[in-house]
């Protein structure tokens, strides 16, 4: 079926089966490959994007259900305002990434956390980030980067 999505502020025409998850629409049709496939069942968080500002797992969300809702991916995150910039800068400054594959999803989850909580505790961070796996176990730096971003935004 043909429909139109709003991705990173742009209208994107899509022709895809109505059950195709947003993840594959982003990657294979829209050419936005920063959002990653890790599990296909909302277990790893590598596919996290924002729909109307809320973090969702794009691997289990049919794209056809998102018509009319603003979708933000890692590629467009930097243009959304100071929170995303602070998070991405903290990720760079803190040398968080090792392989980097999960980090798009980590960053999208971290932005969503700081959008609603500007001074998260360790428990807040654990609760918000526990759905994002990092096989390199960069978790200590993820915690530190979220706190550094919160400080920068204060």
């Amino acid at each position: 079926m043909a429909f139109e999505l709003t991705i990173n502020g742009k209208a994107v025409p899509v022709d895809a089966p109505d059950d195709m998850p947003l993840l594959w629409v982003l990657r294979d049709i829209a050419g936005l490959t920063g959002t990653k496939y890790g599990c296909g069942m909302a277990q790893c968080g590598a596919c996290t994007v924002h729909v109307a500002g809320q973090p969702i797992r794009s691997c289990v969300t049919p794209a056809s259900a998102l018509v009319g809702q603003p979708i933000t991916t890692i590629e467009g995150a930097g243009a959304t305002g100071p929170v995303a910039k602070a998070v991405q800068d903290a990720w760079v400054a803190g040398a968080v990434a090792q392989c980097g594959y999960c980090q798009s999803g980590q960053i999208m989850s971290a932005i969503a956390l700081l959008d609603t909580n500007r001074s998260p505790s360790d428990d807040d961070i654990d609760a918000a980030m526990a759905g994002n796996l990092c096989r390199c176990a960069t978790y200590q730096r993820i915690r530190a980067a979220i706190k550094a971003a919160a400080t920068a935004l204060a």
């Binding site: 195709m20 069942m41 277990q43 590629e75 990720w91 990092c134």
Partner: protein, 740 residues
Amino acid sequence: MFNGRKLSALDVVDAAQTPTLSRRQFLLGATLIGSALMVGCRMEASDADAPVAAGGKPAAGSPFEAYIAIAADGIVTVYSSQFDMGQNSYHGLATLVAEELDVALDNVRVEGRAGNPKWYGNLAMGGAFQLTGGSSSMPSSWERYRKAGAAARELLKQAAAKQWKVVIGELSTANGEVIHAGSDRRAPYGSLIAAAAPLPVPGEVALKDAKAWTLIGKDATSRIDARAKSDGSQDYTIDIQLPGMLVATIAHSPRFGGKPKSFDATAAKAVPGVVEVVQISRGVAVVANNTWAAIKGREALQVTWDDSGAETRSSDAMFTEYEALAKQEGGKVALKRGDAAGKLAKAAKTIEATYRFPYLAHAALEPLNAVIHKDGDRLHIHGGLQMPDAVQGACAQIAGVKPDQVDLHVMKTGGGFGRRAVADCDVFVEATEIAKAINFRAPVKLQWTREADMGGGRYRPLHVHRVRVGLDADGNVSGWQHHIVGQSIMAGTPFEGMMMKDGIDPTSTEGVVDTPYALPDIDVRMTHPASPVPVLWWRSVGHTHTAYVMQTLLDEIASATGKDPVALRLALLPADARERAVLSLAAEKAGWSQPVAAGRYRGVAVHQSFGSFVATVAEVSKTADGGIRVERCVVASDCGIVINPDIVRAQIEGGTGFGLSAMLGERIALENGAPTASNYDAYRVLRIDAMPTVEVHMLPSTASPTGIGECAVPPIGPAVANAIFQATGKRVRDLPFLEA
């Protein structure tokens, strides 16, 4: 992965035919390719005619191969022999080159290169083949890439000396420029490359003295790929899009060792976007226009499997069989010193322990994949090329081209942990077979699903250890009998002939047979049962289980004899053992001499792997629901000269989390020869809420650098197990700690 030191036999075999760490390996040369100055190695006979291929790349198998390119804009590109799966080897190589070349890291790029083992061979493993593994990227590159950087620097100075008609001794270099202080002249490197290219590279290039280093050893969080890995622009194999490319998924036998008998593609082909269903040697592939169609087609595909050669046991049954084997006197003698049986017969006290270690999946976040593209008579292979020579040969044969008609495109990958170094080149062979089955009419990206990846085997082999330790009336160790039972990783691969001796796979016994502790009466036996379950190196390989056994047993001995666990280890370690200093440092930083905080329990372990030494003190607490929480880890390391302290720190933090993940929750169980876990819901990888704080302390050293990618993994498990004993009085001998 495996221990470079154990490849000494290979060194001897190949020394006669292959350039090893000799002057010839560093017969450096330079040439202009396109508009960039290339500095690398060349054969003596071919100095005059380094071939230049289209696209600025030397032809595969060329007598000249570049390590560095310097462009007119001053950008330096390092051509890395070492694959980067997240361990930051690219940044390490960039540091080595930038240090000698005097350029800012901001102006350095790194690209993976493969296909010419003559010049990209791993020098820590004899130099005959290209390989990333065994924590050897820095040992292999330490001289090669610094010398390449120094050679480039000297060439540029020569060029400036000629232009300015000054003697080279009056010139210095800094921040990408040659400087003549006397006349206050400066020339950016990019302005000198054309003049430098025809000049002869000095035969012996002096490396900087350690006192002059400005990058090596400097503690900085800069990473050459940090921005790309924070804005989604870093490309991995899964991100490759080529014109007309098709995407394939694959169905493997659910049981290991099964083969496709027949298949019904009707339902799969009914999925919109599916264009072909093809049988290949290891399964049935669904080829589609996009990934989702390939996944849906794979789900709809009906395959009948021939299980006549397949594994049918459960992992519980395997444990029972292995335990029975471990109790027997049999097995091959891996180490025999003194009279273990005699001493044990007279022991005042005996500790008997049986350990069970499950199969483990690597579970890297990017599931296995490869892209194959045939363009005319050239075969292009894109992917996580951890053992590129093998891939080049295997895929060339399938495609019917010569190895020198293969172009290898080395991608960064979403993790690895050993999984991408497979002697039979699994995913690459499959992708080439699929591309061939459709007559190479389009580029093919084979993307394993998570389920294919987790169910695809190549696991850390299931092992059982049975140990009897005798203690005499004074509490001294008096006799140690040890039987290890587990599948061999190397048997049946080209590594068997190179590295297995007397039928013993050193990747099962490493960490036991080389134990540094004073154990004069020790008898170690090895039994390798066979199974169709494919097994592989898993970050730190045999040390994943041997360190656990040795370091928890030392803790049991300390408990049984009323000794302090740190003091006991120090008493049993020789005076020159490098374990001593890291153990003492970790103990000091953890406050070992003081009582642990209320509600906390502490354990320690120290282990050497791949030439690097790591001690870990773990602190745990009891949770309200009766569980255990790992709170804090204090880790000390000795990996020789520290090239990038923050990369060492990051690898130790991550390695500690990785080892803890296995100890706490990871297990691949088999039922009827098939794994029961197929995704991260059932295969429990450590999440942020279980990650302890990790404090890292590095010992200063002037020893040559050893690797850091694996050595933090072995000690964390036993350190936590020893802390759990303090908390609960229970010994953890069946892993993982958390039951399903």
